[in-house]
């Protein structure tokens, strides 16, 4: 019993509580003590990448969740859907990526949401910043998606 507690404590401290591994791109630093997100990293200029792990409850298809996210952001947030595409990580995990545009304080920003759906979990990867920064770091986003791994 004691040994089990130690293992759990070790797992918690080392961040092994997540069922995914997020790769931090060059130029980003990972932020600790996140509440809303399970993983978040930022550049010095404020370009941010984050991942959330959510219980897949109730169970729905990838299209259902993608549509729910799109409706939420467009209808309620006034985000523009710039485009969407299928993505795949090196580990073979397929996902759906949606690119949104939105003005923040009068400046055009881009917000990229990538959704990976498994039977038990929804993984929502967010990537956002000014339009100029996002376009400049597009390769790093692609790299982060390719190296995203579900354990």
């Amino acid at each position: 019993m004691k040994s089990l507690s130690l293992v759990l404590a070790f797992a918690f401290l080392t961040g092994c509580g997540h069922s995914f591994e997020a790769a931090t791109p060059v130029g980003f630093v990972e932020l600790e003590d996140q509440t809303l997100h399970d993983y978040r990293a930022t550049t010095a200029d404020g370009l941010v990448i984050a991942v959330r792990e959510l219980d897949h409850e109730p169970e729905g298809s990838e299209d259902f969740w993608a549509r729910a996210i799109e409706n939420q952001l467009r209808d309620r947030g006034g985000y523009a859907l710039i485009g969407s595409q299928e993505v795949q990580s090196k580990s073979g995990q397929k996902g759906k990526q949606m690119r949104f545009g939105h003005d923040e304080s009068g400046t055009p920003h881009v917000y990229v949401v990538t959704l990976f759906v498994t039977k038990d979990t929804l993984y929502v990867m967010e990537f956002g910043g000014t339009k100029e920064l996002v376009e400049r770091h597009k390769d790093q986003l692609d790299w982060a998606i390719q190296n995203f791994r579900i354990k």
Partner: protein, 301 residues
């Protein structure tokens, strides 16, 4: 002796005429059937069929009241005196949404031509329609989109009405409305679109008839004013003349505005999501995490 009688009778006749005019209401429309007179031209008629007639509304309420108080015979006398035929007796009111019938023998109303209204002049029998579009675009590259909407309107022969931080109102020639609207929709992600068409043909004709009648009454009053001997009579006529002139200007303003709205369609582009209170909104899904999506939470470090 004859002169004395004539002098003593003249003010009475003058006063009676002025009272008659006041009682009949200067906006009386002899071209309308008796039963429909107060309805079609009063508050109920336009309030129900033409929401944009609000500017004329208050004035019409006054008119209807005074008109209803005047005896029918007197009103007919005034109508005939104004150079128009008497109303046909007891005709039923025209059904709603129908153009008012012009009685036989009455001078046909001129084609619906408002100042600067070429469209109306070209086809007097075609309906006069006001096209209005409201487009909600996503909030992305706002300044660029507003610039493009303004440029698009000007290129099509239209003009800018109002521009705010996230909202722009333009008018485009009505014949190019569909084309302009299609181009506007390509400028961004369309979140919502509303297009409305309002037929103002009936209101336009009503206004024309009322204006002509008022002009006749005004001319009569001006003649009376010239003949008035006593100050008190002159004041009474002037007061009525002022009221008629004021009403005339209001109606002319309204008909000019209608002509402008028919000739140029209004397109309002708002870069904002549709109000959450709007009916027909999509249902909010019961997954709280969706509410936490967005740049605000992501970029708040």
């Amino acid at each position: 002796m004859t002169m004395t009688i004539a002098r003593s009778v003249y003010p009475v006749v003058l006063a009676s005429f002025v009272l008659l005019l006041l009682g009949a209401g200067c906006g009386s429309a002899p071209a309308y059937p008796a039963a429909s007179q107060s309805r079609s031209m009063g508050s109920e008629g336009y309030a129900a069929e033409a929401p944009m007639a609000g500017a004329v509304q208050a004035d019409e309420d006054v008119y209807v009241t005074s008109s209803d108080n005047a005896p029918v015979a007197e009103r007919e006398t005034v109508a005939q005196a104004a150079g128009s035929p008497a109303r046909p007796p007891a005709e039923p009111p025209p059904p709603p949404k129908q153009r008012p019938d012009v009685p036989t023998g009455a001078p046909q109303p001129a084609p619906p031509v408002a100042p600067g209204t070429d469209t109306a002049a070209k086809s007097p029998t075609s309906p006069l329609l006001i096209y209005t579009a409201q487009v909600n675009l996503a909030v992305f590259e706002t300044a660029k989109v507003l610039d493009q909407v303004e440029a698009l309107a000007k290129a099509s022969g239209g003009y800018l009405v109002r521009r705010e931080a996230r909202r722009i109102v333009v008018r485009v020639p009505s014949e190019g409305f569909d084309d302009a609207l299609a181009k506007v929709q390509k400028l961004g992600d369309v979140l919502h679109k509303d297009v409305t068409v309002q037929d103002v043909t009936e209101e336009f004709h009503d206004l024309q008839i009322r204006i002509r009648n008022l002009e006749v009454v005004r001319n009569r009053l001006e003649e009376l004013l010239k003949k008035a001997d006593k100050v008190v009579d002159a004041i009474a006529v002037e007061r009525e003349l002022e009221r008629v002139t004021s009403q005339l200007e209001r109606l002319k303003g309204r008909i000019k505005l209608l002509g402008e709205l028919v000739r140029f369609s209004t397109i309002t582009v708002e870069l904002a999501p549709r109000s959450t209170d709007s009916p027909g909104r999509k249902v909010q899904l019961p997954f709280p995490w969706l509410d936490t999506l967005g740049l605000g939470r992501l970029l708040s470090l």
